[in-house]
């Protein structure tokens, strides 16, 4: 598609060398390099926590690097702040689309850079310019008067891109997961626009989890692992054999499964703990069906935009569903509110436990008892002594530190907060557990304890749906693993019969399910 000489002869649009960044307790970037040639579309891939978003935020001036050099368009950047990066022509297309719903296309494109005439804002001029830009540079016909709220998501994405580029000063455009919010059919609309930008000579950095998209749209790709770059591959060079997705995955994953996982006896029972049939929310979920047997740990993985988060929310009654059925313990569950979901026997450990899982200003004991207050109260009066005793029991069982059920939850570490949330549900004796990223932000020691708890739950006959984007964790813990891509379950595989690479390939759209 692109001549190699053009890539090599043109110099660099972006050069980041030996960039390091340490957060308290975590080395996010370790002498990482990233280089984008002029006029190319450059991919950036890596697993969660590999350092992709950290290096992007350093480029954006959000974080400050501890060490390293940054060159934009051949000029070294001394102090990086959002304004100076913008002046140099670097534009960011954020993952989330932030637009004013009742603004027209033209008004949105020119927000913050309005054109004025004799009688205030030059609405007609802005409309003509916005329409011309959308047609000529992004290759899409949009009415400048159409309101943002009436546009499709892909069209909004294009408006967002037009807003960033309308001033004509853009040299390097950074796309952060641009297709995450799009449906599969809409992706091509965006790609046509990116192709048009490539024709216009813009350099682009394309960050994504979707490897098949990287392969389709990028000239080269840099792979990040554990905070540094582990390889740059040319995806367009005709002399070399085509570098495919499998090799990108090998570079991305390249690690062993650690020894944190408890030995589990697979005591699968006949009874179905959770059965979901044809779940559809009319937006992200397209007829999702799955089962979790009693005593079974089932993994659910799906990258950003896959519908994983929406599926979990639907199960817990936080998201309206349009059709489909949820059976808990083989009885229909009306999941239209979390309260009902809990009553029907579901327990959820939410992904953002600081905001969703705990009342941070309550004591640990109160948090543990929150879901089961009836059991420690008499005729509506809370039995404080019983509640406290129960809190102490849970803390003991979960090994929460520092011990003391009267400690305020806010003061605990992430891992210990997670254990408190788990403790609440252990107290509830629920039959089905939906764990959403149960070990994100949890240190290694606490992780293995949480794994042990999960194994115990299954041992006791509960069904566990464990949602995670860490393939190693899923392989270590689960009996079966479900992969969701763009709102559909595309694979239901036995964990023992798969490996890290196949799992990553499935989740990133880099392989078809067999």
């Amino acid at each position: 598609m692109k001549a190699t000489s053009l890539l090599e002869g043109a110099g660099s649009a972006l050069e980041m060398e030996t960039v390091s960044k340490t957060f308290p307790g975590v080395r996010a970037l370790d002498r990482a390099n990233l280089s984008v040639s002029r006029g190319e579309v450059h991919g950036l891939v890596g697993e969660n926590g590999a350092g992709k978003s950290t290096i992007i935020k350093i480029l954006a001036g959000v974080y400050r690097a501890d060490a390293g050099k940054v060159n934009v368009d051949g000029a070294p950047l001394e102090k990086i702040d959002p304004a100076s990066v913008h002046r140099l022509g670097v534009r960011f297309i954020h993952q989330e689309i932030s637009l004013v719903p009742h603004f027209s296309v033209a008004e949105s494109v020119f927000l913050g850079q309005e054109q004025t005439g004799k009688f205030g804002t030059a609405k007609r001029l802005m409309r003509q310019r916005a329409e011309a830009f959308l047609t000529e540079t992004l290759g899409v016909e949009l009415d400048g008067r159409a309101l943002v709220r009436d546009l499709s998501v892909a069209e909004r994405k294009l408006v967002q891109i037009a807003r960033a580029l309308i001033d004509g000063q853009a040299k390097l455009v950074v796309f952060d997961e641009p297709t995450a919010v799009l449906a599969a059919a809409e992706v091509q609309t965006l790609f046509a626009a990116i192709d048009a930008l490539r024709q216009a000579g813009k350099s682009m950095l394309y960050v994504s989890h979707y490897l098949n998209e990287i392969h389709q749209i990028c000239d080269r790709v840099t792979v990040f692992r554990n905070g540094t770059d582990v390889g740059v591959m040319n995806l367009r060079q005709s002399q070399e054999p085509q570098v495919g997705v499998p090799e990108i995955i090998r570079l991305m994953v390249g690690r062993d499964i650690d020894d944190l996982y408890p030995q589990r006896q697979h005591t699968k029972r006949k009874q179905k703990a959770l059965e979901v049939t044809d779940l559809d929310d009319g937006q992200r979920l397209r007829g999702v069906s799955l089962t979790v047997g009693a005593g079974e740990v089932v993994g659910l993985t799906g990258i950003i935009g896959s519908g994983r988060a929406e599926l979990v929310d639907s199960l817990y009654g936080l998201r309206k569903i349009r059709s489909g059925q949820i059976l808990v313990n083989e009885e229909p569950a009306k999941a239209n509110s979390p309260a009902r979901a809990v009553r029907s026997g579901l327990a959820l450990v939410p992904r953002d436990r600081r905001n969703d899982g705990l009342v941070l200003d309550m004591t640990v004991a109160d948090n543990v008892n929150l879901a089961t207050l009836e059991e420690v109260s008499t005729l509506g009066w809370l039995n404080r002594a019983a509640a406290s005793r129960r809190g102490d029991e849970s803390m003991e069982r979960l090994d929460v530190r520092p011990r003391g059920s009267q400690a305020v939850s806010r003061l605990l570490s992430g891992g210990n907060q997670q254990k408190v949330v788990l403790g609440r549900w252990l107290a509830s004796q629920a039959r089905v557990y939906v764990l959403d990223d149960p070990t994100v932000g949890v240190d290694v020691g606490a992780r293995s304890e949480i794994y042990r708890l999960i194994a115990d739950l299954a041992q006791a006959g509960a069904g566990v749906l464990m949602c995670s984007n860490d393939p190693a964790e899923l392989l270590g813990m689960c009996d079966r693993i479900l992969v969701i891509v763009r709102g559909r379950i595309i694979a239901d595989i036995v964990a023992a019969e798969t490996d890290l690479e196949q799992l990553t390939a499935l989740a990133t759209g880099g392989a078809e399910a067999t």
Binding site: E96, L99, V100, P101, H102, S108, L111, G112, F119, G120
Partner: protein, 332 residues
Amino acid sequence: MTATTVETRRFAAAAPALRLLLARFPLLVFALLFVYMALGSEFFLEWRNISSILRQSAPDAILAAGLAVVVTAGGDDIVSGGIDISLPAAATLGVGILSDQLVNGRPFVLAMLLAAAAVVAVGLLNAVLVVKVGLTPLLATLASWVAVIGTTKWVINNRRITVDHQFISNVRDGTVLNVPIPAVFALAVLIVFSFWIHRTRFGHRLQASGGNRSAAEISGLNPDYFLARSFVMASLAAVVATLVLTARSSGLSPGIEERLLLDMVLATFVGAAFSFRRVVTVPGAMLGAVLVKALGSGFQLLNVDIFKVGMVKGVLILIVVASAALEAGQRR
């Protein structure tokens, strides 16, 4: 794949018809009512009645314009967005000061300047409370409402003040080309504020700040700046309302602020249902004020029991805002 596509299309096809009906419903209801009133009473469409409606609704319309600016800058969520319920109190304080000064023989210009300074000070106070102190607008302006009403009572000893001043009587009774002068003031506010909010770069950014705070921030704008400015702009509307209100009641009658508050808030949000994009706008809010007043007048002419009028008015307003909410729900 095909099955779901077909199904989605059906949803998409059903929605616009329903949306259109919901969008036009308030307009339809009001149109039918006015036809009914016009048929029921010949006087309803006479200029004498219309000019009386315009004269009566001018203060509400002017205050609604001010509120529309704050709602536009802060967002239309009545709890967490932009709202300024202290506007009628600020205007009442202005009326109190103006009347008191005029009765005490102060020249009009000086009295008006004093009143204006007090009213704008309330706007500045609101801006500081919301943007610097970080109170929600509802809480901040509720507090300043209480404080300002207290101040007014203290300044004027909670009595009725009757003003006999030539200029004030002229504003009350005079006309320009047959249009009552209070309505001329409202028209001036309409023109200035509409241009300011809907036709300038500043106004465009102010709208964006309230429409989607993070979109504004990503575009390099500071939403707090626009919110602070909106409180001050709203207080300028309250200054104009001060003059018109003083004329309407020939001075100050204590307790006018409460009825003003209700009509102002209602007019602003009813007006949103009549705007093209179904959002709070300056012209929409002012039109809302006139329409709500016209309803009251029409019912009076039809000899509807005075106690029923409030009920019927309430139901109508509910219909308007409910259909706007339902339409917004359809869109999602």
